[in-house]
């Protein structure tokens, strides 16, 4: 799908510039992880940031590439429940529509105004994660729109290499989207069975020959030499249920324990994020 309404720059073909910097390190080496393998990055979550929306939330996750500088910035607004248009067929449940969009300036490679396939893909993942959490039959004949703008992507701007492809970044973005959408849904007063939060875990191989792969939570691609596999989990803590699971990588089928422990770590990351979410929601009430 190409953008026919606006004149965009040439697609592809160019490489984003890298500016020389006094503190620029060796471009090819990765920096290494500065946190414990089980620690997720600090995040800032606030609800009710958009007064005009029924519910809204803002999420910021710090980047550990440069201390103090924020990485992922997400803004979510929820519109609804509101009545469906007259033309829409009857629905016994609330009609959920999710919309995830990177701001054009959010990533190194500029994004267009129209949603590209990867953004649509994220939207579907988010929808699957949320649909399990909301009690849809409480709101028949109504619809709700969940709109997430990724104001700033979680990419290390000083690294010149594109680490594999962008899919690992997408997993981090999705986990943030799930958490921020859950906060915004709660802010909008839409019935949910539980608060859902996202978590990412990855099997990584660090720089250096023959290092054994380890499992870390909340991975940053630029911190590791190679990511072998990763999974993003949307988890309901009190019900102990998973609403969305997205795994990608390359694991031997004979060794299911590796996969199981990866999912367990993802759930653990999700539990940590959920604590922030619950804390933020109870803070709003007080």
């Amino acid at each position: 799908m190409t953008d026919r309404r606006r004149i965009n720059g040439p697609a592809g073909a160019t490489v984003p510039p890298i500016f020389d910097d006094a503190g620029l390190q060796d471009l090819t080496s990765s920096k290494g992880r500065s946190r414990a393998p089980n620690a997720i990055r600090k995040m800032y979550l606030k609800t009710g940031v958009t007064p005009s929306a029924s519910g809204s939330a803002y999420l910021e996750i710090e980047t550990s590439a440069t201390p103090g500088v924020s990485g992922l910035k997400l803004s979510c607004s929820v519109h609804g429940p509101r009545s469906l248009p007259r033309s829409a067929p009857f629905s016994p449940h609330i009609v959920l529509s999710t919309h995830v969009k990177y701001a054009p300036f959010a990533t190194k490679q500029r994004r267009g105004y129209l949603r590209d396939p990867s953004e649509r893909d994220l939207g579907i993942h988010l929808e699957a994660a949320l649909r399990g959490a909301i009690i849809a039959d409480r709101w028949p004949k109504s619809g709700v729109d969940i709109i997430i703008s990724i104001v700033e992507g979680d990419q290390d701007r000083e690294a010149s290499r594109l680490q594999g492809d962008e899919v690992w970044d997408m997993m981090n973005a999705l986990s943030g989207c799930i958490t921020v959408a859950a906060a915004a849904l709660a802010d909008a007063g839409i019935d949910c069975v539980d608060t859902v939060a996202g978590g990412v875990a990855a099997l990584v191989q660090n720089a250096g020959e023959d290092s054994t792969p380890t499992i870390v939570v909340d991975p940053i691609p630029s911190e590791h030499e190679r990511i072998l596999a990763a999974c993003c989990v949307a988890y309901l803590p009190t019900r102990d249920e998973v609403t969305n699971l997205w795994f990608r990588g390359d694991l031997p089928a004979s060794d299911l324990d590796l996969y199981t422990s990866l999912v367990e770590k993802g759930i653990q990351a999700s539990k940590n994020a959920n604590r922030v979410l619950v804390g933020c929601l109870s803070e709003t009430v007080e």
Partner: protein
């Protein structure tokens, strides 16, 4: 719209389907066993204008065609990578390069472009984007596929995979598309390279000499049961759970009562080039070396189904009028809303238990299980 299509079924039908699929063993509406797939008709090499092609159709008339086309494209150079100088080195260096050629091969996800065309859906439909993302994800997950497209440091093949469904699908088309793509990739050939090193690529124009993208071993043709350990393209299977039952290749009606549905991508490889993550385990001496590539939850349409009204809460039940609904009846109605009543359909809420998800994945990856048999059957297809 959700990743899977919405189906209109009555609550009574849904309750019946759910009950019959929860039995041990489950009774599927079309009588298949839980691991049985719908019978397929498959052929490859049907499109002479492509590098590889395949067609699969079901008995109900659903049909998918995949065509693979390859083009030579210049590789973009990124700063930080060693720059390429055409004149660099003499004849002596060339030999060295050949020695390390395996290490120098690099792949990029953008070298593969996959499109899915489903009639009746808009071309920017999210469901289509989800399907093509899922299929290309499985293809690229191990990072090995793109390396096959490497020509030299300046050029690579760009592979276009176009997947077309001939008619609107009667069930969630994922397994059909995946199996067709698998066969098309197996039959894909790229012209033989005649040039050497980093010069502009120049190819042999003899099509018969063109090597297959997935090299074949002679044993695979002779007897499908012979163990072949060559790398195969990935396959993505749709598997769902109802109660304690795990059901493969669900039809549309079955998917409508699923508690959870997963798309699991697996491949079989020659294990040499992979970083061995399971060094502690004894190497499997026979059979395939299966690898798990990707898992995605499919949002089952069951969450969108209309709930049934239990007789106790039904205003049209019995001779009582709506106005005569007593408090007793109201109380009954409340219990009916919160508790599950036998024979009354209720759309599932919440997610899937960890155990269920684990069991689904385990069932797929079982040694000598469904994946093995599907791969065996696919090997039996004549690659024309």
């Amino acid at each position: 719209m959700a990743s899977s299509q919405h189906v209109l079924l009555s609550p009574a039908e849904l309750a019946y389907l759910h009950a019959s699929l929860s039995l041990t063993p489950p009774i599927r509406p079309d009588g298949r066993s839980p691991t049985q797939f719908r019978p397929l008709v498959a052929e490859t090499g049907i499109l002479p204008g492509t590098n590889g092609s395949a067609r699969i159709c079901f008995a109900d008339g659903t049909e998918a065609i995949v065509g693979v086309k390859a083009e030579v494209e210049r590789t973009a150079q990124r700063p930080g990578e060693e720059t390429v100088f055409l004149e660099e080195g003499g004849a002596g260096d060339d030999e060295e390069e050949e020695g390390e050629a395996v290490d120098k091969r690099k792949g990029d996800a953008s070298w593969v472009e996959m499109t899915v065309e489903i009639p009746g859906l808009r071309d920017d439909d999210s469901g289509t984007a989800f399907l093509s993302a899922m299929l290309s994800e499985a293809l690229l997950a191990d990072g090995e596929f793109a390396k096959r497209l490497w020509i030299n440091r300046r050029f690579h093949w760009k592979l276009y995979l176009d997947i077309i469904l001939i008619s609107p699908p009667l069930s969630y088309p994922l397994p059909l598309l995946s199996l067709t793509t698998h066969l098309a990739l197996l039959s894909t050939r790229l012209p033989r390279l005649k040039s050497e090193g980093d010069e502009d690529p120049f190819f042999d124009d003899d099509w018969a000499a063109a090597p297959y993208l997935y090299p074949r071993t002679p044993t695979s043709v002779a007897k499908p049961t012979a163990t072949t350990t060559t790398t195969r393209p990935p396959i993505t299977l749709l598997v769902m759970a109802v109660g304690n039952n795990i059901i493969f290749d669900p039809s549309k009606e079955e998917l409508a009562v699923a508690d959870v549905a997963l798309a699991v991508s697996v491949t079989s490889t020659a294990s040499s080039h992979h970083i061995d993550t399971d060094t502690g385990h004894p190497a499997a001496e026979a059979g395939r070396n299966l690898r798990l590539l990707s898992i995605r939850t499919i949002d089952p349409p069951s969450r969108l189904t209309p709930p049934a009204v239990a007789n106790a809460a039904n205003a049209a039940y019995g001779a009582s009028n709506g106005a005569a609904l007593g408090t007793q009846k109201m109380l009954e109605a409340r219990t009916a809303e919160t508790e599950a009543v036998e024979g009354v359909w209720r759309a599932p809420r919440g997610g899937a238990k960890r155990m269920v998800l684990g069991a689904l994945v385990q069932k797929v990856l079982e040694r000598g299980g469904v994946v093995d048999e599907v791969l065996d059957a696919l090997e039996g297809v004549d690659l024309g």
